[in-house]
């Protein structure tokens, strides 16, 4: 059974339909890239998968748990990193921020400290792990947020534009981390505007536009549908045409 199955989910806010019924799945050890312009419905889809928003129709299952009916169990399985401004407790140190979320997931003592130290090494946060995050740069905060997302070693990881604000070397570190997690069998949903990044990291892509799923498959399969090779151009062609690719 696939760790993530999304069947016919949609989301309406009053009379506005943010996400039209969409279906996709993500296999174990797979990275699915979610691509779309701002307002395409990517974040709403991720929020539904993360139990924050309730789908208007359809069903989402994470590691067999139904998001709508077993929200607490789903939350233990996932780690989510939201896009936009990085939300942090600014008066707490980076370690305290990560530890607070770790304790909420049941980690404690030596196990928690070791996990934080490992993440600090992986993300090269050693120089600032014990400093308050208030004055941090956006890139530093993003690293802390990534560590916070991964502190409980989740099986399913939802990353909403995770490399936004990271400098080049930090983005490289992060991409290496994604590769490591994929090799460790993690299931990853990854949204980005950076097509190069998507091509490097993702096994398959899902393209959304104005709440609709236009394509779901591998990048070679997407290229095979058109004579356009460049992924950016192909994406623009697709969203301006706006028709789903069979």
């Amino acid at each position: 059974m696939e760790p993530v199955t999304v069947k016919g989910i949609s989301k309406c806010f009053g009379t506005i339909t943010a996400v039209e019924p969409l279906t996709f799945s993500i296999r174990k050890g797979e990275v699915l890239g979610l691509i779309g312009e701002n307002g395409a419905g990517k974040t709403t889809t991720m929020r539904m998968m993360a139990t924050i928003l309730k789908p208007s129709t359809g069903e989402i299952r994470i590691n067999g748990y139904c998001v709508q009916k077993e929200a607490m169990a789903v939350r233990t399985q996932i780690g989510i990193l939201f896009g936009g401004d990085v939300g942090m407790y600014n008066r707490l140190t980076a370690r305290e921020n990560i530890a607070f979320f770790g304790t909420l997931y049941g980690l404690a003592g030596m196990e928690l400290n070791k996990r934080i130290d490992d993440l600090a090494d992986m993300l090269e946060m050693g120089a600032f792990i014990d400093r308050r995050v208030g004055p941090f740069s956006r890139g530093m905060k993003q690293k802390v947020a990534i560590a916070r997302t991964l502190v409980h070693d989740p099986q399913v990881i939802l990353l909403d534009e995770p490399t936004t604000g990271l400098d080049v070397s930090a983005a490289v570190i992060f991409r290496q981390l994604i590769t490591t997690m994929r090799q460790a069998g993690k299931t990853i949903l990854f949204s980005s505007h950076n097509m190069g990044e998507i091509e490097k990291l993702c096994d398959r892509v899902a393209i959304m536009h104005k709440g609709k799923l236009l394509f779901h498959g591998t990048i070679p399969a997407l290229r095979a549908k058109s004579s356009i090779h460049d992924l950016d151009d192909l994406f623009v062609h697709l969203v301006t045409g706006g028709k789903p690719i069979e």
Binding site: F13, R47, A50, T51, I52, L53, K54, M72, A73, R75, T76, I78, I80, F82, G84, D85, V86, G87, M88, Y89, N90, R91, L92, E96, F100, F101, T103, L104, Y105, R132, R148
Partner: protein, 392 residues
């Protein structure tokens, strides 16, 4: 709801607040520094004005200045006689404190037993002028008593002929009760205001602020129930309200004890252990009510700024009942007040400080307060579960 989760989140909130200077300034520094400073400056200012008013009392005498009353007035401490071209204008400008018009041949008229009219002008808007008027009145009365005494003596009578009844007045209230009644008028007001306003910065920060910063969205994806999150936040806001309230109470008591008038030393010895427990219980219930109201408003608000605007009237909610109850004794408090939210707490605080606690009222106030707390917390919980309100 998990008590472990509540405790962990509560600890995190306290650590976060502990490092927030602005919150501590609002919760502690203002009660401990501003209230004593204001009261000190006010009392010092009043005391200085009184001292100056006594030390130098410039008055203008118009009319016949050769009369005995003038010499009598000059014996009053601080009195200095001035001359002025326009005595009324001199009083208006503050150069003179009062003007007294002495009619010609006053002493002769008094010896003949005639009724003499005298006039005094003063400025009621000037405290020093008011003091000068009082001094003149007192001086004229003692001069008058001397004349009456001589007349009685001439007629073979004593002063008992004029004052046949000797009235002695005794105060039945102990010093503790006097202190209690004085404190009962002001302390509940200060406590209520601090309870309501002390939690506002924190309530704004930990819901509307977290929503704005995006930390709330991350928090609600953790395996923690909405009830646990809300309970931890409620306890945090309650704690700050209580800390601020107790700081206000302590600072006020300290100031009042430091500024006693002779024979009016304020004391809290009337506050028995049972009363202290009841006081704390009432404050806890009131703080829970205010905290739940503030969390509701902070949840509805779309930004910290909007939350702050919504919460400003909460302080007025605390002030209105306190002001209405301030001049009343416990016996005069209408029964309906014991049933209404906030009014009930203010009424019970009044009874506690007055030292007239009615057990029946305690039962009503505690049960109605508990009911209002449950209702408000339920509303806050319902709002907290609405997805549209927690996500930016």
């Amino acid at each position: 709801m998990s008590s472990r989760h509540v405790w962990m989140m509560f600890q995190k909130e306290l650590l976060d607040i502990w490092r927030d200077t602005k919150t501590w300034i609002a919760a502690l520094v203002i009660p401990f520094l501003v209230i004593p400073s204001i009261i000190y400056l006010m009392t010092q200012s009043i005391s200085n004005v009184e001292q100056e008013a006594r030390a130098y009392v410039p008055i203008v005498i118009t009319g016949d200045t050769s009369q005995g009353l003038v010499a009598h007035l000059q014996k009053e401490p601080g009195v200095k006689l001035l001359t002025a071209a326009d005595p009324i204008q001199a009083v208006k400008e503050g150069a003179a404190r009062a003007v007294i018009m002495i009619p010609p041949k006053l002493d002769q008229a008094l010896r003949q037993g005639a009724l003499v009219n005298m006039e005094v002008w003063y400025d009621a808007a000037n405290q020093k002028s008011v003091y000068a008027r009082e001094l003149i009145e007192k001086s004229v009365r003692t001069y008058e008593e001397g004349i009456v005494s001589k007349r009685l003596e001439a007629a073979g009578l004593t002063s008992a002929a004029m004052h046949p009844i000797s009235l002695s007045v005794s105060n039945l209230a102990s010093q503790e009760r006097v202190s209690g009644s004085m404190l009962a008028s002001i302390v509940p007001l200060m406590l209520m205001l601090a309870l309501a306003s002390g939690g506002i910065p924190v309530a704004t920060d930990i819901v509307a602020g977290e929503k704005d910063r995006g930390t709330l969205e991350t928090l609600i994806t953790a395996p923690v129930s909405a009830q646990s999150i809300l309970t931890a936040k409620l306890l945090t806001v309650m704690t700050m309200g209580l800390v601020s309230s107790l700081a206000s109470g302590a600072s006020l008591m300290w100031v009042l004890r430091m500024q006693p008038k002779e024979g009016e030393k304020l004391t809290i010895s009337f506050l028995q252990p049972e009363s202290a427990v009841l006081l704390l219980g009432t404050l806890v219930l009131l703080s829970a009510f205010f905290a739940a109201v503030e969390l509701c408003l902070s949840t509805i608000a779309r930004s910290p700024r909007e939350a702050h605007i919504y919460m400003t009237p909460v302080a007025f909610l605390a002030l209105i009942p306190s002001y209405l109850i301030m001049p009343l004794t416990p016996a005069d408090i209408p029964f309906a007040y014991y049933l209404l939210p906030i009014f009930n707490g203010a009424a019970l605080l009044k009874e506690i400080f007055y030292g007239q606690i009615e057990p029946w009222h305690v039962l009503i106030v505690l049960s109605t307060s508990l009911l209002y707390v449950v209702l408000t917390i339920s509303l806050a919980a319902a709002l907290f579960r609405r997805e549209g309100l927690l996500v930016k």
